[in-house]
Symmetry: C2
Subunit: 384 residues, 2 copies
């Protein structure tokens, strides 16, 4: 397989974009990435998206986008893996370029969620769970995660307030990201007193939905001029678990995260200590803890300690959500995985502004579809 380089990135702000349709959001991010890569066209377009059919009455969005971009005739598909759609699309674009099947791939994650009624959006999101054994009983994604967090507090003896630093760090970092949904620093006292959503998850444990798109151009590294610095995709792994948490022997262990990160570590020939930053899937604060543990950054049940001790902050041992994460950059579900990768690229290029990780060389991104059901992990590395 050929080594693959990221030649361009683009993103819109995550926001309520009342004036932009699905194709305009995807188009704006794509044009930015294509321009940065200095390309006129691409061979293939991989779109990560979950909700376009249900919320925008629009499928076939790969063709819609290539048509709108004025790129004639590229191969294009939409990839769906619930909230993991973005990284799943990236991984399929990666394999296409690495294998030699195509020479230039545009990967776009896009989601438009705020134009629908909240009940419609919640119902559409619940299609990531088992319709027959979860959604039908009224289990939403917040309530599934609330059950997991409650169990974690019970088993390991932490209190809710011990999770405060995950949200405080994300909000603090988002202040310096112009594309973040929430520019709002929060305190521990505000975290503790936030409105309850589904106990023990309150408003400041949960990520906000939003509209947005992020895009990446992939090319084979062999086509670049020799000695040009570039960002390489050093590792890529994907794995799944049962669709329902209640089917797992151990509901507090993200086996798909552990399996996918093991593949990515092996491919990239690195260990957790080599990772300079980690854009993880903090849809809820409990997921930050479970991801850190599954990826080898903390012992089981001990991830809140990393947060309390400041090790997840930009200056810490394993900085996470450096541009705001899902919690404060926002979570336009099918786009999120591509936002994470774009943000890792910004860090490795040294373009992350006030939350720049000093001398960042290797970054990781992990995107989760469903309640830990489908997990895709990528490791990016600065070369030359």
């Amino acid at each position: 397989m050929r080594e693959v380089a990221i030649l361009g990135i683009g993103q819109t702000a995550v926001d309520e974009h009342w004036d932009k349709s699905l194709k305009e959001l995807a188009g704006e991010a794509s044009i930015a990435a294509i321009s940065e890569a200095n390309l006129k066209r691409v061979d293939a377009i991989f779109v990560g998206n979950m909700l376009s059919g249900m919320l925008s009455k629009q499928e076939n969005i790969g063709v819609l986008l290539s048509d709108w971009l004025g790129i004639p005739g590229p191969e294009t598909i939409k990839v769906e893996a619930a909230c993991g759609s973005g990284a799943a699309a990236f991984r399929n674009g990666l394999i296409s370029v690495a294998s030699g099947e195509v020479d230039t791939a545009l990967v776009v994650g896009v989601e438009k969620m705020t134009e629908s009624l909240p009940i419609e959006t919640t119902e559409a999101l619940s299609t990531a769970a088992d319709a027959d054994y979860e959604a039908v009983f009224g289990l939403s994604f917040v309530s599934i995660n609330a059950l997991v967090m409650q169990r974690y507090l019970h088993v390991y003896g932490w209190s809710h307030t011990d999770f405060a630093r995950f949200s405080i760090n994300a909000h603090a970092n988002a202040l310096h990201n112009p594309n973040a949904r929430l520019h709002l620093a929060i305190t521990e006292s505000e975290y503790n007193q936030a409105r309850m959503i589904a106990a023990p998850i309150n408003l400041l444990d949960a990520s906000p939905i939003g509209d947005g798109a992020a895009a990446i151009i992939l090319v084979p590294a062999e086509k670049l001029s020799p000695c040009t610095p570039f960002i390489a995709v050093a590792g890529s792994g994907a794995a799944t678990d049962t669709i329902s948490v209640h089917s797992r022997k151990d509901p507090l262990w993200l086996s798909a995260a552990a399996k996918s990160v093991k593949i990515a570590y092996q491919q990239a020939r690195v260990t957790p200590t080599d990772i300079d930053l980690f854009e993880l899937h903090d849809a809820f604060s409990i997921m930050s803890a479970l991801s850190l543990e599954a990826c080898g950054f903390a012992e089981r049940g001990q991830a809140p300690r990393l947060a309390i001790e400041g090790e997840i902050c930009p200056s810490g041992r394993i900085p996470i959500t450096t541009r705001g994460g899902l919690k404060a950059r926002g979570h336009p579900v099918g786009a999120t995985g591509v936002y994470q990768l774009v943000e890792v690229v910004q860090q490795l290029r040294g373009e992350a502004g006030d939350t720049q990780i000093v001398d960042a060389k290797i970054g990781m991104a992990q995107n989760i579809g469903g309640s830990g059901a489908s997990i895709i992990t990528h490791i990016l590395q600065k070369k030359n």
Copy 2:
């Protein structure tokens, strides 16, 4: 890239499956394919599906399926390219195996369409068209195809009855396919008198929707015992056109079909005269004509002559829809592309019963998403 072999196939009947859910349909076809391939598990699952979110309130169906099958942890995604989703999923599975990224891939096309109200299904199908410039004006897929057919009749001087043989052939072939939706021979007089849907398309020009699933196991050919006969994927091409027919300079030319088939012919090192059978995308009879022309089997405007002269029948020069096609086997949209490939495999193995093409060695399948917007062509070849 490694040569890829088809090691197992499976399918359910296309029908109104009131007693089977989406996962049970996909599971039944998958178990058949996995058993035939004599495997215990697979590395990856690629699901082709268009409508599960809108009609069954279920996304993340790759995980749903692996979970239901009891296969622990494989990589899995859903691929959507409107009615071309099945072949698009197959193509992504193919690239994953050919590149060496995975060693065994299960490709499943599945769709459940008959449990919803007809208006819901029609609305869901219309998401393959441009929501802002087609669907919003009430253009359904039948009416888009009716405009194309009317134009074809006008430009080339054929009459509606000249298309009868496309439907008669499909229905005649489906009589011998136990998995076909319609077991019902039709006559030219019945074709001429069928109820009008959107002039000039009548009921016997249009394919029926249905529930169903088809599955294929892909492995690298190098892993098979030497000298074992097998079915190889000899060519694969994908291309797109504008999403709307009205944006095309020539609405009677399927440029994405021509482009994708050219790639497939080149990879397989064949020309149209080498193709022993062609499972084309006859969602409407006009599409049979346009596909035959774009793929080099007839001059422009002359495909109806092939039908009138019997050249599309099992004993003719280019047999099409040999197991009933979309017209009579049925069109469970996201599953259709996989059904087509399963049927080509049956022909190449000599398992096609009364519509067996004598000495078939090379077969082609072409799957179309939208109104000619996204087209994927595969060529399969008998080896050893």
